[in-house]
């Protein structure tokens, strides 16, 4: 390892100040492990309300980053969208890897159960189907995908989504309504 790695935060911040959007993305990507943990916690959480903890934790992650990088204010919305997307990605990864393990993929030793294949839980199937249906939704209205990621996968409130996307609460509410109706239709629900 060398000190002059191209993705060192100091370098990224310099480039960000110079207006390099790729640097911003790379900077956000450094929060990915934290976001991964959040996604995991969100899936595991059985008691606490879904939105409160996760969002405040996302904020913490952001503040940490912002403090370090002195990010411009408008980056916050981008970060929220990035965080939600990262969480969607990771939630789906978790579900898929669990499914793969049930199909005999992982778990190299001990416990062999060849009939686990059928046991992919309904909830997990739904998650993956929603994830896949979002591909269709993206072709109808890309913003709806962001709204679904923020509300469903990341658990943000309407207000937070509105702030992040720079639209009104009412718009978010209407988007969310449309998104749910379209997803339900796409899934044949």
């Amino acid at each position: 390892m060398t000190a002059s790695a191209p993705d060192a935060p100091e370098d990224l911040i310099e480039r960000l100040r110079a207006g390099d959007a790729a640097a911003r993305d790379a900077l956000f990507a450094q929060c990915y492990p934290d976001l991964k943990r959040l996604a995991r916690a969100r899936l595991a959480d059985t008691h606490r309300g879904p939105s409160l903890d996760t969002t405040s934790l996302v904020h913490d992650v952001y503040l940490k980053l912002a403090g370090m990088a002195k990010l411009p204010v408008e980056s916050r919305g981008h970060f929220m969208a990035y965080a939600a997307h990262a969480m969607r990605t990771h939630v789906i990864d978790i579900v898929r890897s669990r499914a793969a393990e049930m199909h005999g993929g992982g778990a190299p030793h001990v416990s062999l159960d060849t009939d686990l294949g059928e046991r992919l839980a309904n909830d997990e199937t739904e998650l993956v189907r929603v994830h896949e249906a979002l591909e269709s939704l993206a072709q109808v209205d890309a913003r709806l995908v962001q709204v679904v990621e923020m509300r469903y996968f990341a658990g943000f409130t309407e207000e937070e989504v509105a702030n992040a996307l720079g639209v009104t609460d009412r718009t978010v509410r209407r988007d969310w309504q449309r998104a749910r109706a379209l997803l339900a239709a796409a899934l044949g629900r």
Partner: protein, 1002 residues
């Protein structure tokens, strides 16, 4: 997917319009929408209801993310104290406390057990719902570890409060790092201890238990006996607590908190990847490093998780001898330099497949080091790395070709040919240099180099094979090594003639030089395989027989391993050539030999897979399943290609179950295989398509015809991508099943188009014996479609060609021959020559030699056809004899088997209906025809001509029993189906004509 993208856009437009309206006006607006929007109405109504009230949602859909039950609840537990009871145990004094839980010295409260135990009480927050189940299942496996060097797990259970505990053997010892820190303990003594540790780990691995948290604190040294000995703690405990779905290392760290120190963690553990035995080998390497030179390979304290991961994954580790030279063990540095360095660095390779394949190999090398013999581990060099590069690329290029040949042979040779695709670990530097020189020869400038990079690997190897005979004449061993390596590579690339040539030269040279028997015979096995691949199966069989004869009764470990591999090959040979006679015996012997001589290797897994295949083809599914089950853990524990072997096992199971009519289970395994392949090779790969052929066929049979069409079309596309690089057989198979499924789906024109494409390459082939399987399948498939379209004459010609091809392979009594004769007879009958057809069908039934107790044999299918023709001829009583005979055979079968014979059953019910109708029993006819429609409907698209014909039959029966309006409705449905499906054959349509006549022509 219920709606297309365009439909979703339309719905989106409607939703926006509705949102713009005040809520009370919406319902009225919805009611005015034109009928083509009818399908959207539920969504417009359901999802717009709750607006206006922020945060309130009436529908449940998407309200919250589902919970997947990871992790657990964090309820604090009461602290245990001395004298407390936990289950049957009484706590004596605390031994320690860590992130995982507390450990107490304990003894049985009831005195039933004298010894003291170390009782582990995991923290509550580590627990989740699955723990009890896992403890019950794994306790037995862990308790079975019977090795003096491994602390026993006596008991794992829950006390009355539901608190879990693990009772482990209590060991009074010193952690190995502390023990070895004593300057008086010499290098040889320390390495000898580590060799013991490696042996103990090998024992656990052989019992399918991985430690996953090896560190000095878990390796104690005791001095009770004459010499110091080691004791390993906590085997499998990490796994027990972390659980099934959390194979990854980061999970483990999360679950165990501080307990799992990253100091000894492997890269895959840090990167959250699946863990295997290779993980333990890495950790052993780290401990060995520390024990040897007195320092850890890298310092990780006080660093963030990301930095630790990076350090472990990228660490360019300083050779232990160098670290020693600068530290307290300076005097021993010289002894470490070279071999011990190489051993430790090999164990600590970042890529699991580059480490020692087994803990036993590591122990062997440590013992060789102590005995001052040459070790297996080799220091890295440019040539070494280039050699690896070459091998990896050869593998990627070779897999397709080998698999292609496997399917042509009609069986699954691929499973263990994937094993052949890896070269043995040890190679001399000369070999690598030679390969490297072939690879880079002539590169004098950048342009040359860039041209060279584009050279196909096959060309490079062919050149190498040409260059070899003139080289290394004074170094026969190196020449042999090279021949072996090149032969293997050529074989993997499907350059079989060249592979055979080089294998031949190698076998001769070894025989002339008087090499050891095992070595000569191993070369002969390779030669037999290459020979078989060139199509000379007879010679291949002779070679294998010779090896089996020469090694029969041999006692050396190596000789027995070679015999095992030869018998595996011969079992395959027998399945292919003699329909499996003697294959089970060979495979069983092979598995037993390899279990002893080289347990846990790909060779053993291959023998077990072969055994499963042979038993499955012999009809013993339970035994086959057991063999595959035994192969699976071995395959999974293998480094590198485990997923491929695993997928191969599922595919083999699919084949076996298909052959025995177990459609549903076969489909389950096909899906598992596809899921694995999709992960490691992608959904657009050759391997995926190959397995998708089975899945598509099975989906078609179990009624998921739309899904089957999707899968088969994807398979066909994948094959097309490879073009001339793969055997056309694959695309042919995909098209054949696709055509069949399209036929069931009522898409006659498309079915015909696909069948014509599949058959086209063989239409002009003069001698059917040149490609009998392809001609048989292509011609018969097209014949079916033409029969359904009513082109009886051309259909008969094609069936005749298929028959000739089948006869060339299997003789006159082969099932395919009889099937074609039956289909030709039916064509004859439908062209009015019923008596000839009846006579021929009786001969077909007579000729069938299928075993009793199987469904859809040629005899039974022949009887159904005969009954059909007899009924057409107005001879219901004679038809009844055939129908009753088939029905009796059917009734003897288990219901689970019957369920997947819907077409067969539907045919039977249809014939019963016809008989009843001709006898004037209209009520019975309604019931039977109704049952036929019920059987067909789930499997067939509404516009399938077969289903339409069955509906028309039912309409006739209903008309005869006076239910004219229902009859008319069914006749209309049938008419609509025929109109949509395109021109269908007279024999399919005539029932509708008859129904129309009964109902009064319209």
């Amino acid at each position: 997917m219920a709606f297309s993208i365009d439909e979703l856009r339309t719905l989106d437009g409607l939703l926006r319009q509705a949102q713009d309206l005040p809520a009370p006006e919406r319902e009225r607006w919805i009611a005015t929408l034109p009928p083509q929007h009818a399908a959207f109405l539920p969504y417009l109504r359901e999802h717009l209801r709750d607006d206006g009230v922020p945060g309130v949602e009436t529908a449940d859909f998407l309200r919250t993310l589902p919970k997947l039950g990871e992790g657990g609840t964090a309820t604090p537990a009461g602290q245990p104290g001395a004298g407390d009871r936990v289950g049957p145990w009484a706590l004596v004094r605390p031994l320690g406390e860590g992130g995982m839980g507390t450990v107490w010295l304990a003894r049985r409260a009831d005195g039933a057990f004298q010894r003291e135990v170390a009782l582990k009480l995991p923290h509550r927050h580590l627990l989740d719902r699955g723990l009890a189940e896992r403890m019950a299942r794994e306790r037995d496996i862990l308790a079975s570890l019977n090795d003096d060097r491994i602390a026993r797990l006596y008991e794992a259970g829950f006390d009355a409060d539901g608190r879990p505990y693990l009772a482990l053997e209590f060991v009074a010892g010193t952690p190995i790092d502390a023990w070895c820190a004593d300057p008086a303990v010499g290098l040889e003594a320390r390495v000898a201890l580590m060799a013991q540790v490696a042996r103990a780990v090998a024992h656990a691995h052989a019992n399918l238990v991985v430690h996953r948290d090896l560190k000095p604190g878990n390796i104690l040294v005791t001095t009770g006996g004459a010499a110091p000995s080691v004791k390993l703690l906590d085997f499998g405990v990490a796994k027990l607590l972390a659980g099934e779905g959390e194979a990854g290392g980061a999970d483990l760290t999360r679950v165990l908190g501080q307990a799992l120190t990253p100091d000894y963690a492997s890269p895959e553990q840090v990167l959250d990847k699946p863990l295997t035995t290779a993980t333990d080998i890495y950790s052993l390497g780290v401990v060995l490093y520390q024990v040897a030179c007195g320092e850890k390979p890298y310092m990780l304290r006080g660093r963030g998780a990301q930095a630790i991961a990076q350090a472990i994954v990228e660490a360019d580790i300083v050779r232990p001898s160098r670290r020693a030279a600068a530290g307290v063990r300076a005097k021993e540095a010289r002894r470490m330099r070279g071999d011990l360095d190489a051993i430790i660095l090999k164990a600590m390779k970042a890529r699991p497949e580059e480490r020692y394949a087994t803990a036993s190999e590591l122990a062997d090398d440590l013992e060789r080091f102590l005995a001052r013999r040459p070790v297996l581990a080799q220091p890295d060099s440019l040539a070494y790395r280039a050699g690896r590069f070459l091998r990896r690329n050869a593998l990627a290029a070779g897999a397709g070709a080998t698999v292609a040949v496997a399917l042509v042979a009609g069986t699954g040779v691929a499973a263990w040919q994937a094993r052949q695709a890896r070269l043995e670990a040890a190679k001399t530097a000369a070999v690598k240099d030679f390969l490297l020189s072939v690879f880079t020869a002539g590169s004098i400038n950048q342009e040359d180099a860039s041209l060279r990079r584009k050279r196909p690997i096959a060309d490079v190897l062919t050149d190498a094979a040409k260059a070899l005979p003139s080289r290394f004449d004074d170094q026969p061993e190196i020449k042999d090594e090279l021949r072996q390596a090149l032969g293997q590579l050529l074989y993997d690339l499907g350059l079989t003639a060249q592979a055979r040539e080089i294998a031949e030269a190698r076998a001769q040279a070894l025989a002339a030089s008087g090499a050891p028997l095992a070595q000569r015979m191993r070369a002969q096995v390779s030669l037999a395989m290459a020979t078989g691949e060139t199509g000379d199966m007879k010679r291949s069989g002779e070679l294998l027989d010779a090896v089996a004869g020469a090694l029969d009764g041999a006692s050396g470990r190596e000789a027995r391993a070679v015999l095992g591999e030869a018998l595996t090959q011969r079992a395959m040979h027998r399945v292919v050539m003699t329909g499996g006679r003697g294959a089970v015996e060979d495979a069983r012997r092979a598995a037993a030999l390899l279990r002893q001589a080289s347990p846990g290797t790909e060779a053993e897994a291959s023998a077990l897979i072969m055994l499963g295949l042979a038993q499955g083809f012999g009809g013993d599914i339970a035994a086959a399943q057991a063999a595959f089950d035994a192969a699976l853990p071995i395959a999974r524990a293998l480094p590198g290609d485990a997923a491929k072997l695993e997928a191969a096992i599922h595919t083999r199971l699919t084949e076996v179950l298909m052959r025995n009519d177990e459609w549903a289970r076969a489909l389950g395994h096909a899906r598992q295989a596809l899921a694995i392949i999709e992960r490691f090779a992608g959904g657009d790969s050759f391997s995926w398509a190959r397995t998708a052929i089975y899945a598509g066929l099975l989906m078609g049979r179990t009624g998921e015809s739309a899904e089957a069409i999707r899968v088969l079309e994807q398979a066909e596309r994948n094959f097309a991508r490879f073009g001339a690089d793969i055997d056309p057989e694959f695309a042919g198979a995909a098209r054949a099943f696709l055509s069949q499924t399209l036929l069931d789906h009522g898409q006659l024109a498309r079915a015909r188009e696909v069948a014509e494409t599949a058959y086209a390459p063989f239409a002009e082939v003069k001698d059917v014996a040149t490609a009998p399987a392809s001609i048989n399948r292509g011609a018969s498939r097209l014949g079916y479609v033409l029969q359904a379209q009513g082109d009886y004459a051309r259909s008969t010609a094609l069936f005749g060609r298929a028959r000739a091809a089948a006869e060339a392979v299997g003789g006159a009594a082969a099932p395919d021959v009889l099937a074609m004769r039956r289909l030709i007879a039916l064509n004859e009958a439908w062209q009015g020559r019923r008596d000839a057809a009846i006579a021929e069908l009786r001969r077909v039934i007579e000729a069938d030699r299928s075993p009793a107790g199987r469904l859809a044999t040629q005899a039974q299918l022949g009887r159904l056809a005969l009954a059909r023709v007899l009924l057409d001829a107005g001879r219901p009583d004679e038809a009844g004899i055939e129908i009753d005979s088939v029905a009796a055979a059917m009734a003897a079968l288990p219901a689970s088997t019957q369920a997947f014979q819907a077409p067969f059953l539907a045919q039977l019910e249809g014939l019963r209906g016809e008989r009843a109708l001709q006898r004037g029993e209209a009520g019975e006819a309604v019931a039977r025809f109704g049952a036929a429609v019920e059987r067909l409907a789930p499997r067939h698209h509404p516009q399938s001509p077969v289903l339409a014909s069955a509906r028309a039959d039912l309409a006739r029966a209903l008309a005869a029993s006076g239910e004219r309006s229902r009859a008319r409705a069914l006749a209309d449905e049938a008419r609509a189906a025929f109109a949509a499906a395109g021109p269908a054959a007279p024999h399919l349509r005539r029932s509708l004509a008859a129904a129309d006549r009964l109902l009064g022509a319209r």
